[in-house]
Amino acid sequence: MTKKILVCCGTGCLANGSQALVDQFYLETKKLDVNIIPQIKETGCNGFCENGPMVTIVPAHITYYKVQPKDVSDILESLDKEPVTRLLYKDDSGKPVTSKEENPFYALQHKIVLRNTGVIDPSCFNDYLEAGGYVGLTKALAMEPIKIIEEVEKSGLRGRGGGGFSTGLKWRSCHEITGEFKYMLCNGDEGDPGAFMDRSIMEGDPHSVLEGLIIGAYAIGSHYGFLYIRDEYGLALKHMQKAIDDAKANGYLGNNILGSGFNFSCEIVRGGGAFVCGESSALMASIEGRVGEPRVKYIRSVEKGLFDSPTVLSNVESLANIPYIMTNGAENFASIGTKGSKGTKVFSLVGNVNRTGLIEVPMGITLRQLIFQIGGGIPNGKKFKAAQTGGPSGGCIPEELLDLEIDFDSLKEKGSIMGSGGIIVMDENTCMVELARYYMKFLTEESCGKCTPCREGLRAMLDILTRICEGKGELSDLDLLEELAYVTSEASLCELGKTAPNPVLSSLKYFRDEYLAHIVDKRCPAGVCPKLIKYEIIPDKCKFCGLCVKVCPVEAITGKPKTPYIINQNKCIRCGNCKSTCAFEAIYVE
C-alpha cells in the first residue's frame, strides 16, 4: 500500500506555514526511488491548530506536530523506520505518543461530522467518494422523500446552529406544504466570536455539507438552493465552490441526479459581514438583495421564506450529519448522546486552556472532561473561573457546575445555551464584568436597529456596564440591569435581542461578588479594568535591566542605575507592556 503523507492545510496550519511544508515535501520526494514515493495530501483542519502544522503518516498513523520545512528530510527517512521522536506530541506525563488516538486531545473525541476532515483532500472529489461519500445520497434517492424525513426524525438530530430545533420536523413541515418553488438553504454565516466549527467543516469536507443539502432538497421537494457563507472565510468559499463544480461535473448536481429524475442546483451567496444575518429571516433578506433585518416570527419560513416561497434553512454542521445518518441508519446515530440530544457536537475549545482547538465529542460529555482531559487544564497553574458557552447569546458556567453533562437542555436550564458550540475557557485573570461589557458592546454594534427593545435596551445596558467597569457604578445599577435584561429578552423581535441579556444575567447570577467589588470597593479583582488597576514595580525583584523603560510607550517608567525603577502613575496608560516584558516578574497589578 502506498504511504500517504497528510499535511494539514486548515487556516490555522496555513498561518503557521504549512504551504511551505507541502512544497518542501514535493521537492524532497522527487529525489526518492519512484516505487516508494509517498502520496502527499493537503487536508482540512485537524482541530489542534495551536500545535500546527500537523503531518500524519498513513497507514502507520503517526502524527507529527509543529513540523517545519527543515524536518521534512527526517520524516521521509523515517518512513520505514522508527518515528521522529522530537516531532511527536508529549502527553501529560511527558511521554511521546505516536498516534492521534493516544493524544489526550483526541482520546475522548468521537468523529461523525469531522469524519473526513483532516483525512481527505477537500478539493479532491475522488477522495470523498473513496471515503464513502455520496452513498447516503444514492440511498436517499431510492427512497420516498417522506421516508427520509422519518429517518432524520428518528435519528433525533437537532439543528446545530443554536436553536436546537428538530431537523426532521422542520423538513416535514416544509414537505407537507405544496408549492411550486421551494428553497433549501445552508447557513454558513458563522458569526459567533469564538466559534469556527462551520468554517472547518466547509474547508475540510465541503462535499459532506453539499450531500446533506441535496438530500434535504430531495426530501422537501426543492430544486434550488443557496449556501450563505461569510465573505471572510476565503478558503471555505473556495472549497465549497470547487465541491459544487465537481459535483455538477459528476452528475451529483444539476438535472436528473444519478438518473433518479430529481433536479437540484445551488449557488453560493457571500455574506456581507453582519452578525444578525445568521438569523434565518435576516439571512433570507440578505440573499434577496436587501438589508439583512429580521422579521416577525409568526410568519414561518417553511411556509413563506426566501422570495416568499417555502424554505428550509439548515446549519452547516446539521447538514454534514445527514449523509452519516442516511448511510449508517438513524439507530446508529441515536445510540450516541443523551436522551434529548442525539449524536455528537463540534466544539471550539478556546481561551485560557492548555490545548485549544476544534473537537467533536458525544453529547452529554461533562465540561470537566472537556476542559481538563481534552483541554489539559488551565495554563500557568492558574485557577479555572468559568466557561462561556453559546457566545454572546449564551452564558457563563461557573466552577461548581463543571460536572454538568452538556446538551441542549441542560445548558438552557443553567441560563446558558448550546449555541453553535463555542466554549471559551476563562481563568482567574478574566474579569466577568468586563466580559459582560464586551459581549454587550459586540451586540450593540451588531443589533440591526429595527426593533426598539434591542436597539435601545442593549445600549442602556452597555452604558451601565461601562460605568461599572470604570468604577462609577452604583448599587441600584444591578437592579436596573436586571430590569432592562428582562424587557429586552421579552420584547425583542429576533433571537439576537431575546438572548442578548444572557451573558449579563448569568454573570450576575454566578459572579455577583465581582460586580459588587467594582461598585462598592472600586476594585477589579481580576486586575483587568484599566480604570481600577495600577501597575507597580516590586523593588526587591527589580534587576534594573531597563527593558520596561524601552517598551513603555508613554515614558512613564523612570529609574537611575542600580536603583529599582518606578512607574509614574499619572503618566501610565495601563497598557501592560512592562508586565509582559519583565523577565523577573517584578511588576504586578493592583
Binding site: A15, C49, E50, P193, G272, E288, V350, T430, L435, N577
Partner: protein, 156 residues
C-alpha cells in the same frame, strides 16, 4: 497591485440585472476600488433599476462595505472573545500607537486602515492580527511594528 482597475461597467456586466445581486455587486466594487463612491452607487442603482436609497442603505448596513476609501493594507485586529481574553485590546492599543490612527481610520498616506473585527475563526491562535490576507497568530505585545513592517516588505 498596480494593475489597471476594472471600470464600473466591466464589473456590472458580469452580473444579471436583478436585485438579488446587489450585495455581490457592492462586494465586487468594494474589492476593486476599496470603497463605494457616490458615482458607483448611482451606476449600480441605474443598472439594477432600484432606488439609490436602497443601494445606500445596503452599503452602510453591511460591515464589509465602506463609503470611504480604505488603505492599501487593511490591518484587522481580532477582538473575538478568545482574542479578547488573551489581551487583544492591548494589541490594538499598540497597533494604534504604531500607525497613529484610531480604529476605523486610514493613515493620511492612504497606506493603512485599522479595523477591529469580531472573530475570524482562528481562535486557537489568539490573539490574531490580519494584514490583508496574512494571518498572524499568538501576537505578543511589542510585535505590532514587526507585523506592519513585514506586510509592507512582502509587497515591495
Amino acid at each position: 497591485m498596480n494593475d489597471k482597475k476594472r471600470s464600473i461597467e466591466e464589473i456590472l456586466i458580469t452580473f444579471p440585472s436583478a436585485k438579488r445581486f446587489s450585495l455581490a455587486i457592492l462586494q465586487e466594487v468594494q474589492k476593486e476600488y476599496k470603497y463605494i463612491s457616490p458615482d458607483n452607487l448611482k451606476a449600480i442603482s441605474n443598472y439594477l433599476a432600484i432606488p439609490i436609497s436602497d443601494i445606500f442603505s445596503m452599503a452602510t448596513y453591511y460591515k464589509s462595505l465602506s463609503l470611504e476609501k480604505k488603505g492599501e493594507f487593511i490591518i484587522k485586529v481580532c477582538d473575538g472573545t478568545a482574542c479578547h481574553i488573551r489581551g487583544s485590546l492591548s494589541v490594538l492599543d499598540e497597533v494604534k500607537r504604531a500607525l497613529n490612527i484610531n480604529e476605523g481610520e486610514t493613515t493620511p498616506d492612504g497606506l493603512f486602515s485599522l479595523e477591529i473585527v469580531n472573530c475570524v475563526g482562528a481562535c486557537a491562535m489568539a490573539p490574531v492580527v490580519i494584514c490583508n490576507q496574512d494571518y498572524f497568530g499568538n501576537v505578543k505585545l511589542g510585535k505590532a511594528k514587526e507585523i506592519i513592517n513585514s506586510c509592507v516588505k512582502a509587497v515591495d
